[in-house]
Subunit: 431 residues, 2 copies
């Protein structure tokens, strides 16, 4: 349940909001050249100030060690030359992307004589709330700058000194190009109350992008009075159709599960047409078992595999809960289906509308699948692991959205913009 923040945090957040709103006007009016100047300067500045960054980061590392954080956590927190190289490369990549702002589309003359089109414009002020990796600070700020937005950043309290140092350099690069350094602001407190205040600043912040675990995102969605571009579960499916090319099906279903276990676009449930058990499922089961993937199967899958002579003692019986679980681990649920309808029904009933793929050479089946499966990314003969801003050609990614409105699926620069109507007239009036 929401409760009001302390007055001093509220007034601090309010001031940040006002600065951000004012800065957003300058950012929206800035030319592509100016925004690129900021990014080029930032890449250089980060390179020249590696020592200062490492030193600020050391304070966070020592605090984490003193708090007894585990090695993996400290590893994610660390800013070393390799991580700084990655940040610089990211900034350069965003520098090289086309500027989406100002594009006018669909301009058409209307019967009254006016010409009406849509112009792509920045959203305004983006609030980003994220966990411990400090590289998100630079990545998110650079994307927001390129899209002409102002940004309020709230990183994890464990990375406070690192983020503050990074934000300082970003501010210097903005100022060097004659833009307000307040276009990127980092929360000056590690107080958790500040997040609660930030997500209710609807007067000043236009959208919140949370990056982190499901519980953080659920809390923010519940309490925010600002629209949230959120990313919840990825319960992704592969369906091996009656008309699948067996070789492609095995290759894709293997890759979708085992290339990496933790991403949100990894397959969690494999659906197989009855006719494909011997040719496709059997070889796949052997691959999965060899790679130590735990298989949770429906009763028909178990008996079909037994009939083919497989020792099924290592297979687990899938429960109803399994069909809607995002494992993010070497666990896969498997279900046999009698036709395309049953496959689509299963996905619509149990899936999370993230990413689903069909393996088939049947044109009609493929077209029905992409039309009827209501997910952010729907694929034919491709691994679910492709659901990613870079693989989709967006050039960058601020996150993957499971919202239906505004931004759906991988979110790049365009997701940080909106469109307004523009009207070119010549003195027309309405009658």
């Amino acid at each position: 349940m929401h409760h009001d923040p302390l007055p001093q945090i509220a007034s601090q957040m309010n001031a940040m909001g006002q600065f951000a709103r004012a800065a957003s006007r300058a950012m929206a009016a800035a030319s592509t050249a100016k925004k690129n100047q900021v990014l080029a300067d930032l890449a250089q500045r980060l390179n020249q100030n590696r020592a200062a960054l490492v030193q600020a980061n050391l304070k966070d590392i020592k605090a984490a060690e003193a708090a007894g954080s585990d090695a993996a956590f400290i590893d994610r927190l660390k800013l070393n030359d390799k991580v700084i190289d990655g940040m610089i490369a990211g900034v350069k990549q965003i520098h090289d992307l086309a500027d989406p702002i100002g594009e006018i589309s669909g301009l058409q003359q209307q019967p009254s004589g006016i010409r009406v089109g849509r112009m792509r414009v920045p959203i305004g002020v983006i609030g980003i709330i994220y966990e411990s990796r400090p590289n998100v600070t630079v990545d998110a700020a650079a994307l927001c700058i390129k899209a002409g937005n102002a940004t309020v950043l709230r990183g994890g309290s464990e990375a406070f000194h690192s983020n503050t140092a990074l934000a300082e350099f970003i501010g210097q690069s903005l100022a060097a190009a004659g833009l307000p350094s307040t276009a990127v602001q980092c929360l000056q407190t590690t107080d958790r109350e500040a997040v609660g205040a930030m997500i209710r600043l609807d007067q000043y912040i236009d959208v919140i992008v949370p990056r982190g675990g499901k519980s953080l995102i659920e809390r923010i969605s519940r309490e925010a009075t600002i629209p949230v571009i959120k990313h919840l579960d990825g319960v992704c499916h592969c369906y091996i159709d009656s008309h699948a090319d067996v070789e492609k099906a095995i290759r894709v279903a293997d890759n979708a599960k085992t290339q990496r276990y933790s991403p949100c676009n990894t397959m969690e449930t494999l659906l197989v047409h009855d006719s494909m058990v011997e040719k496709a499922l059997m070889p796949l089961v052997k691959i999965y078992l060899e790679k130590k993937v735990e298989l949770r199967v429906c009763p028909r899958t178990r008996s079909a595999l037994e009939q083919l002579g497989l020792a099924t003692s290592s297979l687990v019986d899938a429960t109803e809960e399994d069909w809607r679980t995002e494992y993010l681990a070497p666990i896969l649920s498997i279900r046999l289906v009698k036709d395309l309808d049953e496959a689509i029904d299963h996905i619509e009933t149990h899936g999370s509308h993230h990413t689903d793929t069909i393996l088939t050479e049947h044109h009609g089946h493929a077209m029905r699948f992409i039309r009827e499966v209501d997910s952010a990314s729907v694929m034919i003969n491709a691994s679910t692991r492709f659901a990613d801003g870079f693989e989709f050609g967006l050039g960058a990614e601020i996150g993957i959205s499971t919202n239906k409105l505004h931004a759906r699926g991988p979110v790049g620069l365009e997701g940080l913009t909106t469109q307004k109507f523009v009207v070119f007239g010549n003195g027309e009036t309405r009658s």
Copy 2:
């Protein structure tokens, strides 16, 4: 403050939500021909059942009269031949619109070999909450059907019998085309609690479109856990620039205020460049005063008009509050500005980001205005009154959105759709 609805209403709403979600799958898969068949049948059915509609409407009229409602209210509630003609014409118009569903845009091959594009798809389930006019029932339902969505409608309790009869005919037209009649459902209760339950059905309803007064919309936005396509204030501006064509400026600024006083896209504040007082403002003031428009002016406007010999005793001094007030009445606030920057500043500080227009022949000023004014509709040399789905060529309008995300400005069929990523592969895997 939200409180939980009565259990019986909650379970009734839950059942409606489940029906709507199931129906939305059939609607999304329906061909354009099938959806058009529903609309053609509906137009015919309404025409053939005029007597039944008038009879149902009579119950509402009698109840309203017994409750002592005023004549204007009863007039809005009334279904007579003319109103039914209008509904039928609206349905036919939506029948004739191009179907937005299924369009794939931006399909491009990526380095991995996959081809990635975006497909336009229905949103799913649209909840519409509106006040007493029963024609909205048919209009909203027809738009949702054409865009492939299921709909839950909650009309004003005063039009309960009319809406129930209309929904019955819509259901019959759906069934006649072999589509689920539950694709359009009308709340079977006039209980206000039901609205509270409906706007929290996030599991089943994807977006809420409220049509009504500001207090209704504010309440819904505050309490809903579902995204709301909302329409708040229209504090619209005309700015007469130093380089305005005087004749066009007078024509447009007159039209923008006086063509109709109550619409949201009517001008509420006129900004005038200092150099345009004698040529443009003076004649406009005379027009407004003749049309009995109350003028609320800044001190500089008053003294400039006095110097030109106008008797300014009828002019009212504008307060800070005036600059942010949507009058919806024959009242206009007027302010002199020294340049384009001051005009844009005023609009950004006091406006409601709805619709604003510049009167100018100066290309640079015009381009800065449409780029820097952050409103849903920004115009050059055209009346603000054009901000309308029909005038913008959308073919229909479910409302005007003051949101920044998803749908901004007039919302037509496209605003009832979203886009998903589609991937065409040939067995590609991620490495």
